[in-house]
């Protein structure tokens, strides 16, 4: 399933770092935050496996837009943040 542009998504509030060695491309400060899918950037090998030389599945990568002022106190209303997030880290927002 590919998430369509405009879909509201929440980044999983998960910290695999607490469970053992891992390589995560989802920044801590975005976990649990809700944003909007801008577009599907393509499909790429899962870096969480690549980093350990394990066979890596190809995953959809999305450009997701977040309201920056909802994450940190300093930015102003209207400021935004774009980040690349892999599909398994995203859940459709309620």
């Amino acid at each position: 399933m590919t998430l369509a542009p405009g879909t509201r998504v929440t980044v999983k509030l998960d910290f695999p770092e607490t469970r053992g060695p891992c390589h995560i491309r989802t920044p801590h400060y975005l976990r649990g935050e809700t944003g909007t899918v801008l577009r599907h950037l393509g499909d790429f090998a899962n870096p969480e496996d690549l980093a350990f030389a394990r066979p890596a599945a190809t995953l959809p990568l999305y450009h997701v837009r977040f309201d920056l002022a909802a994450i940190w106190p300093e930015p102003r209303a209207g400021d935004e943040l774009l980040a690349e997030i892999f599909g398994p880290w995203l859940e459709e927002a309620a």
Binding site: P75, D79, L81
Partner: protein, 193 residues
């Protein structure tokens, strides 16, 4: 691990190259080829793309939809490089690029990153207080300008298409390219005449 950390770097490099060749991962000529391409890249490449986009609306459209193809159209070697995305600054939205997780940077079109790009301070402040960060680079945006921070978190590499400065209507493509610096294409500064 400590033996590896303390090893003489030249010997360590030689050993790594030998193993890469023995395992059929990368031959000596392939490594030399890659070093040559990496060393040849500089902000002058990205500046040519920016200047072309300011003068040619079709090229601008291509640049913003497929940065890799737009670079290749100008003869820039993108083979083996991650896909390139380009985000435009507009009069009401300023774009700034950072890699909070490490130091991802569009080396194929900008060369080696400036030293500060990898610093913990730059990486943290770009997403948390971008206006304070920009002010330290001498960049003060007009009141009401929104900021778009692009955190380069995964497989893409991102470059900024800056605004064309006023007073450059009669500039040639080469003259325009000569104005554009690395910081303008990261988004910490704006192009000045």
């Amino acid at each position: 691990m400590s033996a590896l950390v303390q090893a003489d770097s030249e010997r360590l490099l030689a050993a790594l190259r030998t193993v890469l060749a023995q395992k059929g991962i990368a031959t000596a000529p392939e490594i030399l080829d890659r070093i040559t391409i990496t060393d040849a890249a500089s902000p002058a490449l990205g500046a040519r793309m920016v200047a072309r986009a300011w003068l040619d609306a079709d090229y601008r459209e291509l640049l913003l939809s497929d940065g890799t193809r737009a670079a290749e159209m100008l003869g820039i070697v993108m083979r083996g490089a991650p896909p390139l995305g380009v985000m435009a600054c507009t009069p009401d939205t300023h774009t700034l690029v950072v890699c909070t997780l490490c130091s991802c940077y569009p080396r194929a079109v900008l060369g080696y990153p400036p030293y500060w790009y990898k610093s913990a301070a730059y990486r943290a402040r770009a997403v948390r207080e971008p206006r304070g960060l920009l002010a330290e680079f001498g960049t003060v945006l007009p009141e009401g300008t929104r900021i778009r921070v692009v955190d380069s978190t995964a497989d893409y590499r991102w470059m900024v298409l800056p605004l064309r400065p006023a007073g450059t209507d009669d500039f040639s493509e080469d003259q325009l390219a000569g104005l554009v610096r690395a910081g303008d294409m990261i988004g910490v500064t704006q192009v000045r005449v």
